[in-house]
């Protein structure tokens, strides 16, 4: 269609004419840049230079800017440079780029030791801020639940039931499946190793204590943090991005009461239920493997289980569940409300919601272990 761009040099007296021809457009930008860079080296060779653009067949912003750049750098080098032969169509475009101020140097931050130390300091301060944020949210949620208790009309039942369906009812299949499999694995491993000592039957003790006290609730809490905690953060975060939370506030609603309390409550109800179902599924899976793989028939399994575990083991597990739910919920809500305007920020906060949620759940589990050990449960 159009010829490749060229820039011919023609001597004219003691001056020089640079004749541009062809299409000076974005398509040829890489070539044009090279041509212009070569021509810029002419600085100082002649006292005046004409840039003749009358032969240019097509011109766009890229071409116009490169001609303008050439003119500027020649002028800066002390040459008298002029653009000539500009057709009427393109003169407004060239005028437009002439107004462009030379690009300011965009500063790029380089990696320095001081910068890295600063980063470490900032992240340490960030941990402190996170703890304060969590305590702040805990206080706000408690205050909101106090208000709701005084004025029960402010309680959002529909919303709570909706979230209960999302985090509890819909989570049942995956939670039951995973805990069932974990129960099978614990049982198989136990039998495999205990058999060496002829202590097959003790696998029932191990399974019962482990599942009821620790694995059941911990595993379910981690799954819920990944499944529902992340969903809460993403929901609240995108509502924050679209100013929906600001809208609620201006209508006189408290976002904590409307959005966060129903979610927290749903989670606190859901986690003990899921932990209970998970524990049953794990025991069932363990029992099945003990029967099929270890030859412990169901009657013997149940008899042994009754001896091995007491109600204390179950209580220890189930007491932890609502506390863990509260931790997951608060972390998720704090992270959700901390989302800034960009999609990237939403991703970061959802990630950190899950990471912090799981971390705190495990820390809480350790604290509980010490507590129950010291009260002898």
């Amino acid at each position: 269609m159009n010829g490749d761009p060229t820039l011919e040099r023609i001597a004219r007296g003691n001056g020089l004419a640079l004749c541009a021809a062809g299409s000076w457009t974005a398509r040829f930008a890489p070539v044009l840049e090279q041509i212009v860079a070569d021509a810029e080296k002419l600085t100082g060779s002649r006292p005046n230079i004409f840039i003749d653009v009358s032969q240019v067949s097509k011109l766009d912003t890229f071409g116009a800017w490169l001609i303008e750049r050439l003119r500027r750098s020649l002028t800066q080098g002390g040459v008298e440079a002029k653009i000539a032969g500009l057709s009427a169509n393109y003169s407004s475009l060239v005028d437009e780029v002439r107004r462009v101020k030379t690009a300011p140097a965009f500063d790029t931050t380089s990696v320095t030791v001081a910068g890295m130390l600063e980063q470490v300091g900032r992240s340490m301060a960030g941990i402190g801020a996170t703890m304060v944020g969590l305590i702040d949210m805990l206080g706000a949620v408690l205050a909101a639940s106090g208000r709701v208790m005084i004025h029960p009309r402010g309680f959002r039942l529909t919303s709570t039931v909706h979230h209960l369906e999302q985090v509890c009812w819909r989570a049942v299949p995956i939670v039951v499946l995973i805990t069932f499999l974990i129960g099978c694995i614990i049982s198989q491993q136990g039998i495999f190793h205990f058999r060496k000592f002829g202590a097959d039957i003790f696998v029932v003790d191990m399974l019962g204590v482990l599942v009821l006290r620790e694995i059941g609730v911990l595993l379910v809490a981690i799954m819920v943090a990944g499944r529902s905690g992340s969903a809460y953060t993403a929901e609240l975060g995108s509502m924050k991005m679209r100013e929906e939370i600001d809208a609620l506030r201006t209508m006189g609603f408290d976002p904590i009461e409307v959005l966060i309390l129903p979610r927290m409550l749903a989670l606190i109800i859901a986690l003990p239920i899921l932990a209970f179902l998970g524990a049953i599924a794990a025991l069932y899976g363990g029992g099945l493997v003990a029967w099929l793989y270890g030859g412990v028939d169901p009657e013997a399994f149940l008899l042994r289980l009754r001896d091995a575990i007491s109600i204390d083991h179950f209580t220890v597990g189930i007491i932890k569940a609502p506390v863990m739910a509260a931790v997951i919920g608060i972390v998720a809500c704090v992270e959700g409300l901390a989302v800034q305007g960009s999609a990237e920020s939403l991703g970061q906060h959802t990630t950190s919601s899950v990471v912090k949620g799981i971390f705190l759940v495990i820390v809480m589990d350790g604290v509980f272990a010490i507590f129950f050990a010291s009260i002898g449960m």
Binding site: A26, A29, W65, L66, N89, V100, K101, A103, A343
Partner: protein
């Protein structure tokens, strides 16, 4: 070489129908957009203006019909030809659709970097030039989209749409959400750019001022078809009830003075 009338019509839409579920949004629609003109596209809310735009640019599948852009049938074109066409058009989405995790500068440079192998220096200079063209100062280049006002978002989005010096731009309600002065400036800007860059502009709008000041030709969408197309005078002379209500309503009289 292309036939003369092919060169004249930069977009040719023939008999296209688009259906969502059982509702037919576009029903055998025909439309030509001529090279170098600013076409204003109006119609009642929900008539399918945005749907037509999105169908032409290939975001909404059509059930029948044929669309030619730059004389290339988009359905028959292979991937390379399509990419060639996509490089020659720019699109300004209604909400700007800036990449929220990139700065203004990165947003504008994104398509250029993808298609052209040019130095960072030229990229930065072109970015400043484009920002200048849409009436923004170079200082905004390192801000993120969430730190911009609504009007600035539209301007940056226009700068991004213009980044590769397209021949054709689609503007989806460019002036909605701007104050009247800002909207007026925007119309002026579109006009200037059309003159300087020789653009063809396909503009979906609700703004009567834009229609009066910026557009060369107006097309009206109703019942899934183009019910009228022509100059402002043609629109005012039309007896179609919706057109009468639109161009002779209280707001139209206020605009005409």
């Amino acid at each position: 070489m292309m036939a003369p009338e092919m060169q004249n019509a930069i977009i040719r839409v023939r008999d296209i129908s688009v259906q969502f579920g059982t509702t037919k949004v576009l029903d055998g629609l025909n439309l030509d957009v001529k090279r170098g003109e600013i076409l204003g596209f109006v119609g009642p809310s929900g008539a399918g203006k945005s749907v037509l735009t999105r169908t032409i640019i290939g975001l909404v599948p059509k059930i029948s019909g044929r669309i030619e852009v730059f004389g290339i049938d988009l359905d028959a074109a292979d991937a390379a030809a399509r990419r060639g066409v996509e490089r020659r058009w720019g699109i300004l989405f209604q909400q700007g659709a800036l990449f929220s995790s990139l700065t203004v500068r990165q947003n504008i440079q994104f398509p250029v970097r993808e298609y052209l192998n040019v130095s960072q220096r030229l990229l930065d200079e072109i970015t400043v030039a484009k920002l200048g063209m849409v009436g923004l100062r170079p200082e905004v280049a390192d801000r993120f989209p969430s730190e911009l006002s609504g009007g600035m978002v539209k301007r940056v989005a226009l700068a991004r749409a213009l980044a590769l010096d397209p021949e054709l731009v689609f503007l989806d309600e460019p002036t909605s959400g701007l104050d009247p002065i800002g909207a007026g400036d925007f119309d002026e800007l579109v006009r200037t750019l059309q003159r300087t860059l020789g653009l063809t502009v396909f503009m979906v709008t609700h703004d009567l001022d834009s229609l009066y000041t910026a557009c060369d030709r107006i097309a009206v969408l109703g019942n899934g078809k183009i019910i009228a197309a022509g100059s402002m005078a043609d629109m005012q002379a039309s007896q179609h009830p919706w057109l009468r209500a639109y161009f002779h309503g209280k707001r139209a009289r206020a605009v005409m003075g």
